[in-house]
């Protein structure tokens, strides 16, 4: 059986041909995405290029699946009550479904915030708030505010069960398109994001694909199955857990250093790994994804520079090569130039060195935000530690994906930013790492196959993720 797997990205449309029986890559190619005119043109070009390499394939393919992050990807707004509780849970549900969370709103929505939501131009609003039987005032208020607005965006209700009927009545009366699903946090600090995630995915298939004009490409693609980040997450999960027969790799991290964002996925429980540690706050999802919109290394290089600071970049430079001369302002100039030619692949020694520095800084900053932290507390009984978030100390397998890492000469030097510096006591990032690279862009493709052909998908990942 042959599968054609498409990844319609914001810049490139990639196609991968796979022999499913052998779990073998037959070929792949990429062409510029043409979402603004007719998405089919880009698809056609990619397929033609692929066929130039390996012969007729589109007509022989048994199925053709696609994931997409084109047209801005799946953009969501999350609304919850308390920032660290239901609002956080709603945000995780959206991120877990592969969405880009434009903004998360907390407590009672104001008129200004409703205006802001309208401006954000989201594809879906996820409305949470209150544990089951808990606070209902806020979600009811927020439903009324959304009902009164002119927003024509599907709304998913995933809040307090006791308020569900009334919330849906309010929104229905205003003619809003809505879906109801289980509360993202039915009990305090108990996360239940899978139903919301499924609802988001279903809505993506039902409505968003059409809204983005992605349903016009039946010629090449049987169906668009999910947003691209969701496919990457499914692949990561399969790789960690195995396909039921073969054992998976165990707990792992996937890091995508992109031009606009740096994404981190952790497949790990994150339970405390040392004694005397008390876990506090919302228990985080095993399959956790974070997206750092200010830490990309092309479009958002300037905000990355602002976020990490020049001193930190220079320090990384020293660690990488103490003898490499970095003149004053040199690095900053290079960073500011990055956004101007986003598709540039750097070739000179200096450029590669600088790109390694900022790539590693992006990984470090993104990991520091993704991983949990310890807080030291002195009690009359001695020292104890509070852990908030996931302890990833013992997670060793670190997989890099995305074009920037693939094209880089030494991706391991960038990925090494995920490792905790010696002497660091509060961050719970990995203590050591084995690095792998998604050289053949197999993750999104394998993610598309993960549900229907887990064995093939797992074998593809095993075969094509290479140690670096």
């Amino acid at each position: 059986m042959i599968a054609l797997l498409f990844d319609i990205g914001s810049t490139f449309t990639k196609v991968t041909a796979v022999d499913c029986d052998e779990a073998k890559l037959l070929g792949r190619s990429a062409a510029p995405t043409t979402i603004n005119t007719d998405v089919n043109e880009g698809l056609k070009q990619a397929v033609t290029q692929l066929e130039d390499q390996i012969g007729v394939i589109a007509d022989r393919a048994d199925f053709k699946l696609a994931c997409s992050s084109a047209a801005g990807g799946l953009k969501m707004v999350a609304v919850g009550l308390v920032p660290g509780l239901t609002a956080q849970a709603a945000q995780w549900a959206a991120l877990g479904a592969g969405a880009k969370v434009l903004q998360t709103f907390v407590f009672k929505l104001t008129k200004q915030e409703i205006d802001k939501i309208s401006e954000l131009d989201a594809d879906i609003i996820l409305l949470a708030g209150g544990t089951d039987g808990g606070n209902s005032d806020t979600i009811l208020h927020n439903a009324r505010m959304l009902a009164r607005s002119l927003l024509d965006v599907p709304i998913i209700i995933a809040g307090n069960k006791a308020a569900q009927d009334e919330v849906s009545k309010i929104l229905q009366a205003a003619g809003k398109d809505l879906r109801i699903t289980d509360n993202v946090m039915p009990q305090l600090e108990e996360l239940n994001i899978e139903p919301a995630r499924e609802t988001i995915r279903a809505l993506f298939l039902e409505r968003i694909i059409h809204a983005k004009g992605l349903d016009t490409m039946q010629r090449f693609v049987d169906r668009v199955v999910m947003p691209t980040p969701s496919a990457v997450m499914d692949a990561a999960q399969l790789l960690a857990q195995g396909d039921g027969k073969d054992k998976g790799w165990g707990e792992l991290l996937v890091i995508d250093v992109g031009g606009a964002t740096t994404d981190v996925h952790s497949m790990a429980t994150g339970d405390p790994t040392s004694s005397g540690v008390v876990l506090k706050g919302l228990v985080e999802p095993w399959k956790k994804r974070t997206v750092e919109g200010d830490l990309g290394i092309r479009y958002s290089a300037a905000s990355l520079f602002a976020a990490v600071g020049e001193a930190f970049l220079l320090q990384i430079g020293k660690e990488l090569n103490p003898n490499f001369p970095i003149a004053d302002g040199n690095l900053e100039d290079f960073i500011l130039s990055l956004g101007r030619v986003p598709s540039e692949i750097y070739t000179t020694e200096k450029e590669i060195f600088f790109e390694t520095i900022i790539g590693r800084a992006a990984v470090t900053a993104a990991m520091n935000r993704h991983a949990g932290r310890l807080e030291q507390i002195f009690t009359p009984h001695g020292e104890v530690f509070l852990q908030r978030g996931k302890d990833l100390s013992q997670v060793k397998k670190i997989i890099g994906t995305g074009g920037i890492l693939v094209h880089h000469q030494s991706p391991q030097d960038i990925l090494a930013g995920a490792i905790r510096p010696s002497g660091e006591k509060t961050l719970l990032t990995p203590l050591a790492g084995e690095f792998f690279l998604d050289k053949e862009y197999i993750m999104a493709a394998a993610g598309l196959l993960a549900k229907e052909m887990p064995k093939t998908a797992f074998n593809l990942l095993n075969r094509y993720l290479v140690a670096v």
Partner: protein, 139 residues
Amino acid sequence: MAEKRTIILGVIGADVHAVGNKILEYTFSKAGFNVVNIGVLSSQKDFIEAAIETDAVAILVSSLYGHGELDCQGFRDRCIEAGLDNILLYVGGNLVIGKQNWEEVKERFLNMGFDRVYPPGTLPDEPIRDLKNDLGLPD
């Protein structure tokens, strides 16, 4: 049957005494409350955020290590700030260090905005009875 009322239970500050906390969770649950136990090492913020999300009617604070007075400063004000104007605040345990006059200690906590203050050695029946009373629930 009336819906169970939700209460927040926890041990405040850098205090790791867990046994009494578990006993209170058990007894208050038995008495018909929906107990949300946030456990040891809890900050005021933890109590308040839990109360907001769960629509709790009361916050029960335990403190066994003698620093309760410091840890509880401004608790009522923060509740008001967070919109929990009418929530019941109970506190109990070894609230202060040394042998201090109980009535004075109690007075200080009442002045801080707590509705009920319990000395060491109080059995759970008493705050359960008080809570039912304060909420107008039948015994």
